[in-house]
């Protein structure tokens, strides 16, 4: 009679699997591997460097900026960038200096700002300035850069010793200082907007993909409705859903909300697609077999497996939100004066005549460009780093 199995070979006494492995193998989690690969991605590291500088600028704006953002000197409206010098007609100096501004009246009785080459205002580091609270906690009055002052009244002429690294705006406020403070709005609004999109997108995409059926149908139609509207019109539409007059903090959060309500749909759809394929994985089945609840399976076993994409997509989406904020502020629908954001600072650059006369109002645009560039470089670097098909060096 058939007997298929009683003839089994004797089990070896030593189990090759269980041989103890003495040398310590360094354990690399997925995150650590990605970071190792990202470090080799030069453009990505440059982008990361720029981002660190910009965020440091935002966090320590009080320290980095020579003046508070609303510090006006109305007579110095549209003052050009101070030219930082090491030498003038009176000889040279190791310490950089600027010439103080002097107000003259020209033959047409217009006020004219001009530097007075006979006097020097030395640029000093770590100087005493307006008091502030670092990180909102530590009271300080040391600022990174400042200039010496000269007497403001000298024989009927008024002198102003102010440092305008990037010129002044129409209120005589230092554009560089305002860019530093504006970074707080512009650099965080994109980040928070992207994080909110992350939360909404993961929740909706995860639910939709995992449960399928009618839940999926309803959520996907909702996504499509949002995606049908052109982004910018939706942005404006949502802005008008909020009251027109709100204080800066309210506007700030409203803008974040608006940006994420515009952006979540596309993201949620991709997450849904990924969840659809991940939920068929054996380890999801195994997770169900040990008795985990659906919510926990989605949160702990499915979504973490989308993290590679999520990190990259979020990084690459932040620039869009920064631009969205800038666009709203540029139109006067976002952050309101006097609170600076890079977008509302560019508001004045919309007028071609003003732009012609004071090209330095474009400086915030340079920062927007740098920030977006940096986020894209980092995003590309991350994409290469988390790509499992990438070269493992």
């Amino acid at each position: 009679m058939p007997d298929a199995g009683t003839l089994s070979p004797k089990q070896p006494q030593t189990d090759p699997l269980v041989s103890s492995n003495d040398e310590q193998v360094e354990v690399h989690g997925p995150g650590k591997i990605a970071w190792k690969r990202f470090r080799r991605h030069r453009p990505g590291m440059i982008g990361l460097g720029i981002l660190i500088i910009l965020y440091a600028m935002a966090i320590f704006a009080d320290f980095v900026a020579p003046y508070p953002y609303s510090d006006e000197e109305r007579e110095l409206n549209w003052a050009p960038p101070s030219s930082v010098r090491f030498s003038d007609a009176n000889g040279s100096s190791f310490r950089p200096f600027i010439h103080p501004f002097r107000i003259n009246i020209d033959e047409n009785f217009n006020t004219v700002l001009e530097p007075d080459p006979s006097q020097r205002c030395y640029i000093r580091f770590l100087v005493e300035g307006e008091p502030y609270k670092l990180l909102g906690l530590i009271p300080m009055h040391t600022r990174l850069i400042g200039v010496d002052t000269v007497p403001s009244q000298q024989g009927g002429t008024r002198y102003f010793s102010r440092l305008y690294l990037m010129g002044a705006d129409g209120g005589g406020r230092d554009i560089f200082s305002r860019i530093c403070y504006g970074a707080r709005v512009s650099m965080t609004i994109g980040l928070l907007g992207a994080l909110l999109v992350l939360v909404i997108g993961l929740t909706i995409g995860g639910t939709s993909g995992y449960f399928g059926g009618w839940i999926d149908d309803v959520l996907q139609r909702l996504c499509e409705m949002v995606m049908l509207l052109p982004g910018f019109y939706l942005l404006l539409l949502l802005r008008f859903a909020f009251p027109a007059s709100m204080d800066s903090v309210q506007v700030y959060f409203a803008v974040i909300l608006i940006l994420s309500l515009v952006g979540w749909a596309g993201f949620a759809r991709v997450i849904r697609g990924m969840v659809l394929s991940i939920r068929k994985e054996d380890y999801v089945q195994a997770a169900r077999a040990v008795g985990l609840s659906n919510g926990r399976i989605i949160a702990r076993h499915i979504l973490p497996n989308t993290m590679g994409y999520v990190v990259v997509a979020t990084t690459l989406r932040i620039p869009g939100y920064i631009l969205g904020e800038s666009a709203l502020s540029l139109l006067g629908l976002g952050i309101m004066e006097p609170t600076p954001s890079w977008g509302n600072m560019l508001n004045r650059a919309m007028d071609i005549l003003e732009l012609n006369q004071h090209p330095w109002v474009l400086w915030p645009g340079v920062f927007i460009f740098a920030a977006i560039m940096a986020f894209n470089l980092v995003g590309d670097g991350l994409r290469d780093a988390v790509d499992p098909r990438g070269l493992t060096k």
Binding site: G5, S8, V18, N21, Q285, A287, V290
Partner: protein
């Protein structure tokens, strides 16, 4: 006779597909007694895995649904439990290990994370205690240096190791029943033997029951107490392991045994069961096995004209018995403690229709095999 640990009774499962409803499990009744290893055997697509998944209510619903039947464990019908209570059964009372150890562990977590997650889910223990339990579980399945392994990721382990980890995870909460769905199919032969030996050892130590799903008759012969053979969604034969191997009753079971390659057999071709597994959407009428049945063909040659009909299967024309085509046989107790689903057994018409129940334990002492009485067994084989 003690109460069974788990009693599956008249289970019927259906899947709605675009081409109509298919029924992967039909009238399946299996009892599993405490400490018993029950093997569920059959070829791919016969409904073994769906039966197992239905016990834990893990079949995707929709499209799947359980039409009727009951799965009772300790007085509770698992099919009627609220989802929340069912979750506390999964992993705690009934654990399951899967075919593919390579993909059954989540790649983004360490082994330790995954075992302690299960432990903390079902036992009220602190983190440190959960880690200790996980470590013990790894030690139980023979993994050296378990403390260090806890911090490793699945990709750092081989297939055999991962299957050990899966077993450790399944056993970490001391389940009463372990469902092993082809636990060794994806592993090479030596690792297969190790894993099965491990399962037997743990089963003896912890006194749990195992529902072993496999298509490997060697695995069945070495491990099972009781065997249920499935074909085309139905149990076609049910018996104690020695009984089944000595006196297979159903022509499908016979065919399976003939298809096992034997040492020293010099014939050039391995025997096979003619035809292919029927598509579950288009099962044949009557006995589901009749298009492939050698018994029916043989008997048809001797039968009178009206008792046999000509059919075409796999492009081949031949005659089978009329009754096999017209009437579906029932699962009957054709011999004491031996059930089969075939009209053409001489005892069939007199045999009673009873619900298969066997509290049988294998006679072959697997301990003896393990401890190396291999020579003795080989001698016995030669004498026989």
């Amino acid at each position: 006779m003690p109460d069974p640990l788990l009693a599956i009774k008249d289970l019927n499962v259906a899947f709605d597909t675009e081409r109509g409803q298919i029924r992967p499990v039909r009238d399946v009744s299996i009892d599993i007694y405490p400490g018993q290893i029950v093997a569920l055997v059959g070829e791919s697509g016969c409904g073994k895995s769906v039966t197992a998944l239905s016990i834990l209510r893990l079949i995707p619903q929709p499209p799947g649904k359980i039409l009727s039947g009951s799965v009772s464990m300790e007085g509770r019908n698992l099919l009627e439990l609220p989802e929340k209570e069912m979750r506390s059964v999964r992993g705690k009372d009934i654990a399951m290990i899967f075919q593919e150890p390579m993909t059954s562990l989540n790649p983004v977590y360490t082994i330790g994370d995954q075992i302690t997650e299960t432990v903390k889910l079902h036992q009220r223990v602190r983190n440190t205690e959960a880690v200790r339990i996980a470590e013990d579980a790894l030690k139980d399945v023979g993994i050296a240096d378990p403390r260090r392994r806890l911090n490793e990721y699945p990709h750092q382990m081989s297939g055999g190791m991962r299957q050990r980890v899966m077993i450790a995870m399944a056993l970490s909460c001391q389940p009463k029943l372990l469902i092993a769905d082809e636990p060794t199919t994806a592993l090479d032969v030596t690792i297969q033997a190790q894993i099965l030996e491990l399962l037997r050892k743990l089963q003896r130590e912890k006194g749990m029951s195992i529902l072993l799903i496999t298509h490997d008759l060697g695995v069945v012969a070495e491990n099972a107490d009781v065997v249920a053979v499935m074909y085309a969604s139905r149990v076609v034969e049910f018996a104690g392991v020695e009984d089944l191997f000595d006196r297979p009753q159903h022509p499908y079971t016979e065919g399976l045994f003939r298809a096992v390659p034997k040492l020293g057999d010099l014939r050039s071709r391995l025997e096979q069961i003619p035809g292919t597994v029927p598509n579950p959407a288009r099962f044949p009428g009557g006995c589901k096995f009749h298009p492939r049945c050698h018994r029916s063909r043989m008997l048809a040659q001797e039968a009178r004209g009206e008792d046999a009909v000509e059919i075409t299967s796999a492009g081949e024309k031949f005659r089978v018995l009329n009754r096999c085509v017209k009437e579906e046989p029932e699962l009957r107790e054709v011999e004491p403690a031996h059930w089969a689903r075939c009209h053409q057994l001489p005892q069939y018409d007199r045999a009673p229709v009873t619900i298969p129940k066997l509290e049988h334990r294998r006679e072959v002492n697997s301990q003896a095999v393990e401890e190396g009485d291999i020579e003795k067994i080989i001698k016995q084989e030669i004498h026989a």
